[in-house]
Amino acid sequence: MPPMEPPERFRPMLRAGGSRFSRDAAARPILVFEGVHKSYGHGLPVLRGMDLVIERGEFVFVTGPSGAGKSTLLRLLYRAELVDDGRILFLGRDVARLRDDAVPFLRRNLGIVFQDFKLVTSWTVYENIAIVLEVIGLPQRLVRTRVAEVLERVGLAGRGEDRAGVLSGGEQQRVAIARAIVGEPALILADEPTGNLDPQLAVDILGLFGEIHETGATVLFATHDRTLLDVRPRRVVVLDGGRAMDVPEGVADEYDNRLPL
């Protein structure tokens, strides 16, 4: 286990020395995995010395067969798990070395979308989205404005007062996406976001992520759904044998028959 870093809050390294903004720092990759090892109790490593670099503004598919480590990779990034070895540099900071009380501040720079939506069904749509901004202490006036904007972006304008539990699966995932982007995070993580949706809805949701990406967001989209990879050419990273195989454009033929349709 790597030693813990002293700082109490997660501060992105956008400044390289002194207090002036550094263009070099801003041009660095947003996410770097260096020699990341992770195994679980049964001893078989899920990630073995994995290296991966994600540049700012990229849209990256992370794919691979079941058990390849897609979800593990994302969980390591938002510190639901700890690496056994290696470094994960997010905005220049080693995530693995953050203290536990700095993890909330890391997550405020991330937008996370889950396969099972993870909405509070007893809350309204508005409350599910607004909580992101209430956590960071924004005044209610600003919260109302920002929530209305993102609801419109995801195609749910005027649905703020509906209880989340009565929405359809696709609508709930849109609410989850709205929650992920309302805080304007540096990186959006999507862990099988279309896993519980029918194929058409899955494509719609992917399209929504594409629109969000076009505004400049960096998106890391984990999926085992082969069909989504063909919707639009994107960078694809395949996890295989605990390592990341970068396929800059589309999925290489050698992996084609190992991914489910």
Partner: protein, 284 residues
Amino acid sequence: MRGLVREWRLHVLSVCSLIVAFACLGAALLAVVNLGALQQRWAHAGRASVYLKDNANERDVQALHDALLLVPHIVGVRYVSSTEARTEFGQREVEMHGDLAGLPVDAFPASLEIDVAQDLSDAELGDIVHKMRELPSVDDVETYRSWTDRLAKLLSGGVVAAVVLTVVVLGAVLAVVGSTMRLALQRRRIEVEVLKFVGATDAFVRKPFVLEGTVEGAAGALGAVILLASLFFLIRGRVEPEVAGLVGMAPSFLPWPVACGLIAFGAVLGALAALLSVRQLGSP
């Protein structure tokens, strides 16, 4: 406060349990407050009764009466003859339907009722009493100290009971509020999970639970105060004349500072219990 409103049934049940616990403590405090007031009343009653011998003649009694008036701190002396004493006693007994109304006059000695100043110390009063007992016409002197000593013992017992009940209430509040919060935490685990995913600190997640615990504790104590007050004023109307006649003062309810202190105590205990219950939120 969303959780408080959405799970109001759970919280109402907890508050009812807390009302019972705080009512026990409140009752003990009520007893302590009244015993303390009674002790104060009799400790500074400023009275003594000098019982005269049957063979004390009028001249000796008048001389003693005049001499007592000259003693510092004695502000008044009143002679009560046997007949007058019998009459006063008989009237009270008849009013109270007592069985002693038929006692003869001989059973009531004449006395000098002395009013002493409030600032007279116990030691000085004891000295006066000791000297009076040596006078030939004096049979006995009653300063009612035995009553105040008994009251002081009762008061001490009441204070001990109140302390013990405080500990019991502390345990009850911790158990009830703690269980309620743990149950609420379990029922709202999705909320907690989501809060942690969106970057809420542990303090932010704990805040609503601590607030709910505070409200529960305060509501329990307030409910107990209202319950006690209702019972007190209901019963007082029926027994006040008898109690006042017996002990010389009417019973009183908890003073406002004590009642408010009890409610504040409940709030603090509730907050503490909630904080202890949700201190380990874990990580998703």
